[in-house]
C-alpha cells in the first residue's frame, strides 16, 4: 500500500512547500523523441523568466548523464543516437530529476492542495529503446520483452510519446493496444495508473498551431489510438490525459519558426537537429510530468 502512496503521491513537505513524486516509464516508437525529451528536460536550457518552472536538478549520475547528453549532442547541433536496447532491463538508466515549480504560479491549479507554495516534483524515469514498442507487435512470450513489461508495471505513470510527424499510425495503434493489455495484467494495489499521451515534435508548424488541443492532434494523427485510449480509461483501468511538447522549441516569439534543421523526412517521421542552440527553449515538457505526479493539470505549464 505504501508503495503506491509514495510512488505517486502528494505528501506534505516540511520546508514550506508541497512535494509530489512519480515513477515514470517513457515508451514510444523508435525515433519518437524519447531520449531528446528527457535530455532537454534535464538540461532545461534558456528558461523563460515567465516559466512556472524554477529549476530542474539531476539527482543521480544517470540524471547527470542525461544533462551531459543534451549539452554534448543536442546543443552541438547533433542528432541523438538511437538508444541501445539491452537484453537486461536492469541495464537501463534510471533518470532521477527534481523539478521545482515557482510557488506564485501554482495558485491557478486549485485542485492540487497546497499549491500556493513552492511545488517540487521528484521523478524516477526510465526511457525504453523504441525497439520495446515495436517488439510488442512482433514478439510475444519473449523473456526479455516480459522483463521490460514487468519493469513497466512498477511505474505509477506512463508517458506514451507519439511522433506528431510520423505516418505509421496503424503500427502505433496496434502497439498501444498490446501495451495496454499488458498493463492491465497487473494492478497497482487498487490505485489507478496514469498514462500521459504526449505528441512530440510539436515545433512543426501544423502541430504548433494546434498545440493547445493535444487531444484533437491525437485524433488527427490516429483516431484508433485515441479510441483505444478512451476505451481503456472508460474500462476503469486508469486515466489518460493528452499533451503536446517539443524538445527543440521555437525561434522567437513574434513570428515563431521551429528551431530545427531537417535531416530527413519520410513516412517514418522527421529527423532533425537543433538549428540555433543559443535560442534553444523546449516547451510542454513539464506539463505531463506534473499531471503524472499530481493527477491535476497545471494551466501555466499547459500554456507554455
Amino acid at each position: 500500500m505504501f508503495e503506491w502512496l509514495n510512488n505517486s503521491s502528494q505528501s506534505p513537505q516540511t520546508n514550506n512547500g508541497t512535494n509530489a513524486s512519480a515513477t515514470i516509464r517513457v515508451v514510444g516508437d523508435r525515433a519518437s523523441g524519447k531520449t531528446a525529451y528527457m535530455a532537454a528536460l534535464a538540461r532545461w536550457p534558456n528558461a523563460s523568466v515567465n516559466s512556472p518552472v524554477q529549476t530542474i536538478i539531476p539527482i543521480n549520475e544517470d540524471g547527470e548523464t542525461l544533462a551531459a547528453m543534451a549539452q554534448n549532442i543536442l546543443e552541438q547541433g547533433l542528432e541523438m543516437p538511437p538508444s541501445v536496447i539491452s537484453d537486461n532491463v536492469m541495464d537501463l538508466k534510471d533518470y532521477q530529476l527534481r523539478i521545482v515549480l515557482k510557488g506564485a504560479f501554482s495558485w491557478r491549479s486549485p485542485s492540487f492542495k497546497g499549491s500556493a507554495k513552492q511545488v517540487t516534483l521528484d521523478i524516477n524515469c526510465k526511457d525504453y529503446a523504441g525497439e520495446f514498442f515495436s517488439d510488442l507487435l512482433n514478439k510475444s512470450g519473449d523473456s526479455v520483452l516480459n522483463d521490460y513489461l514487468d519493469d513497466c508495471m512498477q511505474a505509477s505513470g506512463i508517458m506514451l510519446l507519439i511522433d506528431g510527424t510520423s505516418r505509421k499510425y496503424q503500427d502505433i495503434a496496434s502497439s498501444i493496444d498490446k501495451f495496454l493489455v499488458a498493463l492491465d495484467r497487473n494492478d497497482l494495489g487498487g490505485s489507478k495508473r496514469r498514462v500521459a499521451l504526449v505528441v512530440t515534435k510539436c515545433e512543426q508548424p501544423d502541430l504548433w498551431i494546434n498545440r493547445q488541443r493535444p487531444q484533437d492532434i491525437t485524433r488527427a494523427i490516429s483516431p484508433q489510438v485515441l479510441k483505444r485510449l478512451q476505451a481503456w480509461q472508460q474500462s476503469g483501468a486508469g486515466s489518460v490525459e493528452y499533451f503536446s511538447a517539443s524538445a527543440f522549441g521555437m525561434l522567437g516569439t513574434n513570428t515563431p519558426a521551429p528551431n530545427f534543421t531537417k535531416i530527413r523526412a519520410s513516412r517514418d517521421g522527421l529527423a532533425a537537429v537543433i538549428k540555433d542552440p543559443r535560442r534553444w527553449r523546449p516547451f510542454g515538457l513539464v506539463a505531463p510530468i506534473y499531471w503524472l505526479c499530481t493527477g491535476a493539470r497545471h494551466k501555466d505549464l499547459d500554456g507554455e
Binding site: 505504501f2 542528432e79 536496447i85 537484453d87 524516477n124 525497439e131
Partner: protein, 720 residues
C-alpha cells in the same frame, strides 16, 4: 616452423538490417548478439563488455575503425580469454548514427597477439573484417588462423614511455603506431604493471578510460578529451576488480522494487566483503561506497529532502554497507512515534524493506557487522548524533535488521557494566569488555568519576541513553543511566528495577538512589509550604533570584519539587541542575563563564605557569599517595570542581611543552577567581608555599574523601 592453428570465435552487435553487404541500414537493435560462432558468450567476456570495457563513446568513421584489445582472466567456469573488438559506425532509417562492434575472441591469455596477427593478415588481404550484418556465421565454426606473430621490437622511445603513468596515452599518430604496435607496447606495459593486457586504438572517447593500460587517441582533440576525462577518474585502479555494473544493478534493483529479489541481495552482500577486501584501506573502501551511493542519488536525497520509497530503500542499503550512516538514515526518516503521517510512512517503508532482507541476508559475516552497528548506535545516542526515539523505534521492531540484535546488545552491556564496576573499584577481574571500540572506550573512561562519585556526581549527558533503555523497557540499564544523569531515579523505575528494595541500592559500585530518599536509603521529606514559599520567591525575584534559589536548592541533597525521571515513553525535562558538567550537589560551584581579568595578570600568570603547574601536580600526587584506591581522574575532577571549571585541561599541567595558550589561560583565570572568592591576593598563580595552595589541597582532599567513601546503602543487589 608451422604455427598451431588458432580458433578465433566471433560475434557482433545485433541489429535488424536492411540492404546488402555493401550498403545497409539498421531498423533497430535486437538486444542480442548476431553472426556468432559461439553459442554463448563466456561469462567473464560478457561482464567485461557489460562494465563498458569495450565501450567507445564516439567511434571513428567506417574507413578507420576503432579497436579495443584486452585479456580477461578466468572467472567462475570461464577460462582466460583474449578479445579484440573492431568498432565502426552505421546508420538507421532515421539517419541516426549508431555504433556497432564485431568481437573476435580466442581462449587463453596469450592469444591476443595471435588474433592481432590474423587481423593484420586479413587487413593486408583486402581489409580489416568489420561489422557486416549480412556476413552470416555458423555456431561452432570459428575462424582458423595460422598467421605468425610479427616480430616487432619496442624502440628506446617506447621503452622510455612505458615507465610513465597508467593508462599511457600515445601520440595520436596511427601511421607511426598501427594497432599491432599498440598491442606490442601494451604487452610490454602489462609486463611492467602485472595487469592483464588492455589497449584502445584510434578512439575519440572511452566510457572507462581508466580501465586501459595503453590508449591511442584518434586525434589531438580526442587526446585532450581523454586526458580531461582521466583527470576526473580515481587514480586507484583497485576498483577495476569490482563488477560495478552488477553491483549497481543489484542496488538499483533493490531500491526500485517493492519486492526484493534474492539474486540482487546476494550480489549486494557479496560486494560488501569484496569492496572491503579490494581496497588497501577501510577509508578508501568507504569512499568507494559513498561515491557509489551518491551516484544513485543518496546525497541528493539527503540534501534536497527527497522522500520517495526508492530513496528510503537506497539509504537503508547504504546504512547496511556503510554502518556509520545509520544515524543519518534515522535522522532523515524523522522518526517520531507520536506523529503519524509522512515520517511514519517512510519509516514503515524502511521497515518493510528490512523485513524482506531479514529472510535473505543470512550471511554469517553480516551478523558481526549488525552487532557492531547496534553498539555504535548507542554510542551515537550518547553523542546526540542519533535520537533515543529513533533508535528505540529501530530496535523495537521485529522487522528491523538491527532490532534482532538489541537483546544481545543489552545483555552485553549489563555484563560490561559489571566488569566496569569491578574495574573502577579495583576489584580483580579477568573479564573484559564486550562492547568496546573507539567510541565505547571513551565512554567507559569518562564514566568512571560519575560511577564512583554516585549519587552525588552526575551529568545530564547520559540522559539520551537512559531514555533509550527506558523506551526499550530495560529498567535496569535505564536506572543506571538515569542515575548517572540526575543523581536519582523515579520511584516507579526503582521499583521496577529493584522490586524488593527501597531507598537506594548499589549496583556494582553505582549508588542508585530512589527519588525522595538519600543515598543511605533514608526518606527525605520537604514540607509542601517550603516548596510553595520557594516557588513564590522565585516568581518574585525573577531570574537573578532564580540563580539564588537554584543554589539554595542545590545545597539540599534531595528536593521533592524536582521533576522525577519517568519510566514512560515521554521525554524528561528536569527542572533543576541543568549544569552540563558534573557538579556535586553538596558543593555547588557554578561553572565559570566570563571572568574579567587584566591582560597584565594573564601575562604574568603565563610567565609563572610552571609554578602553578608544579603546585597542581603536587596536590594531585599528594592525594594519590594518601588515597591509594582513588582513581586519579576522580582527584582531577574534584580539583576542577573546586576551581569551578570542569573544562580545565589537565594536559596543560602534565605536559611541560604544552603550547595551547588559551587552555593555560583558562587555568590562570580559574585560579584568579578562586583566589578572589577566598579573599586572597589575586595573581592567578598557585605557589606551593601560598595560601591558595593550602586551601585548594585541603578542599580537594576533603572532596575526594567524600566521594570515595564506601556506600552505606544496602548490600549489592546483583540482578544476574
Amino acid at each position: 616452423m608451422t604455427a598451431i592453428p588458432l580458433h578465433i570465435h566471433e560475434f557482433s552487435t545485433g541489429i535488424n538490417p536492411e540492404g546488402n553487404h555493401e550498403n545497409w541500414i539498421s531498423r533497430g537493435f535486437t538486444g542480442q548478439y548476431m553472426n556468432s560462432t559461439i553459442s554463448e558468450v563466456p561469462y567473464n567476456v560478457e561482464r567485461s563488455i557489460a562494465n563498458d570495457e569495450f565501450a567507445v563513446a564516439e567511434s571513428a568513421v567506417k574507413e578507420k575503425p576503432s579497436m579495443v584489445g584486452r585479456v580477461v582472466l578466468a572467472s567462475g567456469s570461464s577460462g582466460d580469454w583474449s578479445i579484440v573488438a573492431v568498432i565502426t559506425r552505421g546508420k538507421d532509417e532515421y539517419v541516426r548514427s549508431l555504433t556497432v562492434a564485431r568481437y573476435f575472441l580466442a581462449e587463453g591469455a596469450d592469444s591476443l597477439s595471435k588474433i592481432i596477427a590474423w587481423l593484420s593478415f586479413k587487413e593486408s588481404q583486402g581489409g580489416l573484417p568489420i561489422f557486416n550484418p549480412f556476413e552470416l556465421k555458423v555456431i561452432d565454426k570459428p575462424n582458423i588462423s595460422v598467421a605468425p606473430i610479427a616480430k616487432t621490437r619496442a624502440t628506446p622511445e617506447m621503452i622510455a614511455w612505458l615507465a610513465g603513468s597508467t593508462p599511457l596515452i600515445l601520440p595520436s599518430n596511427q601511421q607511426k603506431y598501427p594497432f599491432p604496435v599498440v598491442d606490442m607496447i601494451a604487452h610490454e606495459k602489462a609486463e611492467l604493471t602485472g595487469q592483464p593486457v588492455s589497449w584502445a586504438f584510434n578512439v575519440e572517447a572511452l566510457e572507462k578510460p581508466e580501465r586501459f593500460q595503453i590508449i591511442l587517441p584518434a586525434s589531438d582533440r580526442a587526446l585532450d578529451l581523454i586526458q580531461k576525462a582521466l583527470a576526473t577518474k580515481p587514480k586507484d585502479q583497485a576498483a577495476n576488480a569490482i563488477d560495478e555494473k552488477a553491483l549497481k544493478q543489484a542496488i538499483k534493483g533493490l531500491a526500485d522494487n517493492p519486492t526484493a529479489k534474492p539474486e540482487h541481495c546476494q550480489t549486494f552482500v557479496e560486494n560488501i566483503f569484496v569492496v572491503f577486501s579490494t581496497f588497501p584501506t577501510a577509508d578508501k573502501a568507504r569512499d568507494y561506497w559513498q561515491k557509489l551511493f551518491d551516484g544513485q542519488g543518496a546525497s541528493g536525497a539527503l540534501k534536497q529532502g527527497i522522500y520517495t520509497s526508492q530513496m528510503v530503500r537506497l539509504l537503508t542499503l547504504r546504512a547496511i554497507a556503510l554502518p556509520d550512516t545509520l544515524p543519518e538514515l534515522l535522522n532523515w526518516l524523522q522518526i517520531d512515534p507520536n506523529k503519524k503521517g509522512k515520517s511514519g510512512d517512510y519509516g514503515e517503508i524502511s521497515l518493510e524493506f528490512q523485513e524482506q532482507l531479514l529472510d535473505i541476508l543470512k550471511e554469517p559475516r553480516l551478523k558481526t557487522i549488525f552487532i557492531e552497528t547496534t553498539r555504535n548506535l548507542v554510542a551515537k545516542v550518547l553523542t546526540k548524533s542519533a535520537t533515543p526515539e529513533s533508535v528505540a523505534w529501530l530496535f523495537s521492531s521485529k522487522r528491523s535488521l538491527w532490532g534482532k540484535y538489541q537483546t544481545q546488545l543489552r545483555t552485553d552491556l549489563r555484563h560490561d557494566l559489571e566488569v566496569f564496576g569491578k574495574q573502577v573499584r579495583r576489584v580483580p577481574t579477568k573479564e573484559k569488555f564486550i562492547v568496546a571500540g573507539e567510541g565505547w572506550n571513551k565512554i567507559w573512561e569518562q564514566m568512571q568519576p560519575y560511577w564512583l562519585g554516585s549519587p552525588r556526581y552526575f551529568d545530564e549527558k547520559y540522559l539520551p541513553v537512559a531514555e533509550l533503555f527506558d523506551q526499550l523497557g530495560d529498567s535496569l540499564l535505564a536506572s543506571c543511566f538515569y542515575q548517572l544523569s540526575y543523581g536519582y531515579i523515579s520511584s516507579k523505575l526503582f521499583n521496577q528495577a529493584f522490586p524488593n528494595r527501597q531507598g537506594a541500592v548499589s549496583f556494582n559500585g553505582l549508588t542508585i538512589r530512589e527519588q525522595g530518599y538519600n543515598e543511605r536509603g533514608e526518606r527525605f521529606i520537604v514540607p509542601i509550604p517550603f516548596v510553595a514559599a520557594i516557588a513564590a520567591i522565585t516568581l518574585l525575584l525573577g531570574l537573578g533570584g532564580g540563580v539564588l534559589i537554584e543554589r539554595l536548592l542545590l545545597a539540599k541533597p534531595v528536593v521533592s519539587k524536582e521533576q522525577p525521571p519517568q519510566s514512560s515513553n515521554t521525554s524528561i525535562t528536569p527542572t533543576t541542575n541543568k549544569l552540563s558538567s558534573p557538579v556535586s550537589k553538596s558543593d555547588p560551584k557554578p561553572p565559570s563563564t566570563s571572568i574579567s581579568i587584566s591582560p597584565k595578570i594573564l601575562e604574568s600568570g603565563l610567565a609563572k605557569f610552571d609554578t602553578t603547574r608544579n603546585s597542581i601536580s603536587l596536590i594531585v600526587r599528594n592525594i594519590e599517595d594518601k588515597q591509594k584506591t582513588v582513581p586519579k581522574l576522580l582527584i582531577e575532577d574534584t580539583l576542577k570542581t573546586e576551581l569551578g571549571n570542569m573544562n580545565l585541561d589537565f594536559s596543560a599541567i602534565e605536559d611541560e611543552s604544552f603550547s595551547d595558550k588559551q587552555k593555560k589561560e583558562a587555568w590562570i583565570k580559574a585560579v584568579y577567581k578562586y583566589q578572589q572568592e577566598a579573599g586572597f591576593g589575586k595573581d592567578g598563580v598557585i605557589d606551593e608555599n601560598g595560601k591558595s595552595y593550602k586551601k585548594l589541597e585541603k578542599a580537594v582532599t576533603k572532596g575526594v574523601e567524600a566521594r570515595s567513601q564506601p556506600s552505606t546503602s544496602p548490600p549489592e543487589n546483583n540482578p544476574f
